[in-house]
């Protein structure tokens, strides 16, 4: 197995001390090692947010784009070279807020991508505003009277949109989380991994303690079968005293790239473009 040191760029993370993002960084690195990825054939794609800084610390190829656009960039990369492992890294605001359109359509598209979302239920980098997953009533700088909307439910949305691997992790459950990421990477198709990541600076509600008290593993739920969509749907609604983590749902379905005849033989990136013959196109004009 490749060493964690090789996987690190050596840049010192600039997150707040105690931030849940450190744990996710750790999990991602271990998962890369466990999944046996080739660092030169792996691309991390992120947006903007505290969470999106993660690729700066992982020694793969990486693209740190703009806020909310992780999936389109990742899609472009995967379409261009489907031999690469492409992993999206986003915050809850990035993925479920400004990026919602790409999130929904990315899932029904079912490209072979892994989408890791740091769900701290807050906007960290912009110093603590409400996020789409912030709980109803939660007061922040942008909603000092408390959020009025009901939060988005990423698991339920993923189910409704046809995602083929849907999981939730918690950063303190490092090994469990690492395994989820490995499974997500190995899954052929779109994998969503929503991760509870306490923001120790701005989220006074959803703390380590909060999640620790509530999270339980779906593996431990008697008879839970992640192939059962109805059960998954049911579990997706559970929130409050007990919150499930683990694989909610997994299904094998053809991927988008499977249906592209153009890349059956080799990825687009490997096809020569030095002298494309367009005679036939010119002939059509007569």
């Amino acid at each position: 197995m490749i060493s964690l040191k090789e996987i690190a760029t050596g840049n010192k993370p600039t997150w707040c001390p105690g931030c849940g993002d450190y744990g996710i960084l750790n999990a991602v690195k271990i998962a890369i090692a466990k999944a046996g990825l080739n660092l030169e054939k792996t691309v991390l794609v992120s947006g903007i947010g505290c969470s999106s800084k993660l690729p700066q610390y992982v020694n793969t190829y990486a693209f740190e784009g703009i806020h909310g656009r992780v999936l389109p960039v990742a899609t472009g990369i995967k379409l261009a070279n489907n031999s690469l492992t492409v992993i999206g890294i986003a915050g809850d605001g990035d993925a479920y807020g400004i990026g919602t359109c790409h999130f929904i359509h990315g899932m029904r598209r079912n490209l072979d991508l892994t989408n890791i979302v740091h769900d701290n239920q807050i906007y960290g980098l912009t110093t603590g505003q409400t996020s789409p997953t912030s709980e109803k009533g939660f007061a922040t700088k942008s909603t000092p009277g408390g959020v009025i909307e009901w939060p988005v439910n990423p698991i339920a949305l993923a189910l409704a949109s046809g995602a083929t691997f849907i999981a939730r992790g918690f950063v303190l459950e490092l090994e469990h989380l690492t395994n989820l990421i490995v499974k997500g990477i190995r899954h052929k198709g779109f994998a969503l991994i929503d991760i509870f990541q306490p923001c120790v600076t701005f989220n006074y509600l959803n703390t380590y303690q909060y999640y620790k008290q509530r999270c339980y593993k779906l593996e431990d739920a008697p008879g839970y079968n992640p192939q059962d969509k109805t059960a998954a749907h049911h579990k997706s609604q559970e929130w409050g005293e007990r919150i499930p983590i683990g694989v909610f749902y997994q299904e094998q379905k053809g991927t988008y790239e499977d249906e592209l005849p153009e890349i059956k033989e080799k990825p687009l990136a490997e096809q020569s473009i030095t002298d494309v013959n367009i005679d036939r196109l010119l002939d059509e004009c007569y």
């Binding site: 784009g65 960039v73 472009g76 359109c101 687009l268 196109l281």
Partner: protein, 584 residues
């Protein structure tokens, strides 16, 4: 006065009646006979029902634009007569169905006009054909009037419909022939215009600007088009989509334009030539990512077709109102290239070139066309692909990346361009980023580093300026009046030049193709030597004139502007110029 080998036909009907297809069929029938054709279509923003028309201009000599003078009108609805009374005033003939309209009622005092009644609806019924096939009858009738070789049309129809089976082929040919015969039988007198097949002429391609651009992209090795449909560039999506398998390229109709541009950036980052096409509203949604391409130094080509704004404006008409918008879109300051093709051949060659430039300079390249250029059809000599060499700039081959030590993606170099690697290559790992960064792509650590990196990017400008082709010059070397213009006005201006030359008025014309970085030195030299300067633009605020003043200090007094959604007619430029010279 008998006329040989030139005619301008207007075919009008309801949207959805296949006017465009029929006009192209008619045009191709002539271009296969070695005649130059130019087809302009004007249609409303509805799918069916409203009035829709095409002009099909034919000439034995090369044509570069449409024109106002119509010789023959084919009316497939009443509107074609009632809305085109102006054109009918000088036309020679009108083909119509007495069931649709009564010319005697609608047109009083149009003595020059010969009317050709063809019972389209009755013929369709008797041949048990679909009502849309009425158009074919009129094509036959038109060919008959100008005594053109019917066999060319028959061959063309055969090819067009062969996939649908012999019966369909035959019924189309029969319909056209019915029209042809009807004229011969009922109107034996000479129409006065004859079009002859040009036996020694080279074969002529007939294609639209968008088709030419799409071909240019394919020739450039594009493998990914990520786009969201928008008039007037949707046909680029359709063109490439239809050819995906043949050319091993992927066309992704995305969820929106933001996705489109970001996918194109992802594709280019991964080493595949990728682009997006759109119009102003979609481009607005792409502007944030334009800066991302610039900051991350990812090559990017965007193809934008203009239509009149602001906002939704007039989706199916033409404009040159977006130049400044493209030059300055996205926050911050960074080098970009804006190319404005002027004709169909430019669409091909310059779109192709855009991909080389994007990779050579690792900057966004914007190709700005418009509805008039993109959707009009014009004859071109066959494009010459022999000399088109792919240039991927400083993209390192794997043989070199393997040897890299401590690779710095944003290395500061003499020309500002850094060697590039793509995912999958050994030794080339790096992070590309939207943040200001150091040479390795890590967050910029000092204010001084920031200035250096901004200067590095800005340095590319010099390299770009040194390598871009200069504007093109047309017309008399020594002239009384010099036109400077950009984009789709080219063909119209060239024809206006001919009209003026025929009257002894000496005008020349400089066509700016690479408009940004602005070719200030070239323009400055033109200004110095020209006695009178005129700019011609399909917009309201004379954007080119503004650029000229910004970059040379010179204020253009004579600005020929039109912004009603229609392209110029050659005569409009002709009379604007004459107005200046006092000849008018």
């Amino acid at each position: 006065m008998a006329i040989l080998n030139q005619i301008n036909i207007l075919m009008g009907g309801e949207a959805g009646q296949g006017i465009i297809i029929s006009s192209l069929t008619l045009a191709k029938t002539f271009s296969r006979g070695g005649l130059y054709t130019f087809v302009l279509n004007e249609y409303p923003k509805t799918i069916r029902g409203l009035h829709n028309w095409c002009s099909i201009r034919v000439n034995a000599n090369p044509l570069t634009s449409h024109t106002h003078q119509i010789d023959l009108v084919i009316a497939l609805n009443k509107d074609t007569v009632s809305l085109h009374q102006e054109e009918l005033k000088t036309a020679r003939g009108l083909i119509y169905d007495p069931k649709d309209l009564n010319p005697a009622e609608l047109l009083k005092g149009y003595d020059q006009l010969k009317t050709y009644a063809v019972p389209l609806n009755r013929m369709i019924k008797s041949l048990k054909a679909e009502s849309q096939m009425r158009n074919s009858i009129t094509i036959g009738a038109a060919l008959s009037l100008v005594k053109y070789d019917f066999g060319i049309l028959a061959d063309l129809l055969r090819e067009m419909f062969q996939r649908k089976g012999d019966a369909i082929v035959q019924s189309n040919i029969d319909l056209a022939h019915t029209g042809y015969q009807h004229i011969q039988e009922h109107y034996p007198e000479d129409f006065g215009i004859t079009i002859e097949k040009q036996t020694n002429a080279p074969p002529l391609m007939l294609l639209s600007g968008n088709e030419a651009a799409a071909m240019g992209a394919i020739r450039a090795g594009v493998k990914l088009l990520a786009a969201y449909p928008m008039t007037p560039t949707s046909s680029i999506i359709h063109y490439l989509a239809a050819r995906q398998e043949k050319y091993n390229l992927v066309v992704k109709h995305t969820e929106d334009e933001i996705a489109a541009v970001n996918m194109a950036i992802g594709g280019n980052f991964a080493g595949v030539r990728s682009f997006a096409c759109t119009s102003g509203g979609g481009f607005a949604l792409m502007t944030e990512a334009l800066g991302l391409a610039a900051q991350s130094e990812t090559p990017l080509v965007l193809f934008v077709g203009q239509r009149p704004g602001p906002s939704t404006g007039q989706p199916t008409h033409t404009s040159q109102g977006d130049l400044r918008c493209l030059i300055h879109a996205s926050q911050g300051e960074f080098p970009r290239i804006v190319i404005v093709p002027g004709d169909h051949a430019d669409c091909f060659y310059e779109t192709w070139q855009a991909f080389n430039l994007a990779e050579r300079f690792q900057v966004p390249v914007l190709v700005l066309s418009d509805k008039y250029l993109g959707e009009s059809y014009c004859c071109s000599p066959r494009f010459d692909t022999a000399k088109m060499k792919i240039d991927r700039g400083k993209l390192l081959p794997e043989a070199e990346t393997e040897k890299l030590q401590d690779y710095r993606r944003y290395q500061i170099t003499a020309d500002g361009i850094s060697p590039r690697t793509i995912p999958g290559q050994k030794g080339g790992r790096h992070i590309a980023t939207s943040y200001e960064h150091d040479e390795k792509g890590f967050y910029a650590d000092s204010f001084c580093g920031v200035t250096k990196m901004a200067d590095k990017r800005a340095k590319k400008l010099a390299a770009i300026e040194a390598s871009l082709p200069q504007p093109k010059e047309f017309g008399a070397k020594q002239a009384d009046i010099t036109i400077i213009a950009w984009g789709s006005t080219k063909g119209v201006i060239l024809e206006a030049l001919d009209l003026l030359a025929a009257e002894g008025i000496k005008v020349n014309y400089h066509q700016i193709v690479y408009i940004w970085p602005f070719p200030a030195k070239y323009v400055q030299a033109v200004l110095r030597s020209a006695p009178q300067i005129v700019t011609v633009e399909n917009n309201q605020t004379a954007q080119l004139a503004g650029l000229i003043r910004e970059h040379t200090g010179f204020e253009v007094k004579h600005r020929c502007l039109k912004y009603d959604g229609q392209p110029f007619y050659p005569r409009e430029i002709h009379s604007f110029i004459k107005g200046i010279t006092g000849h008018d």
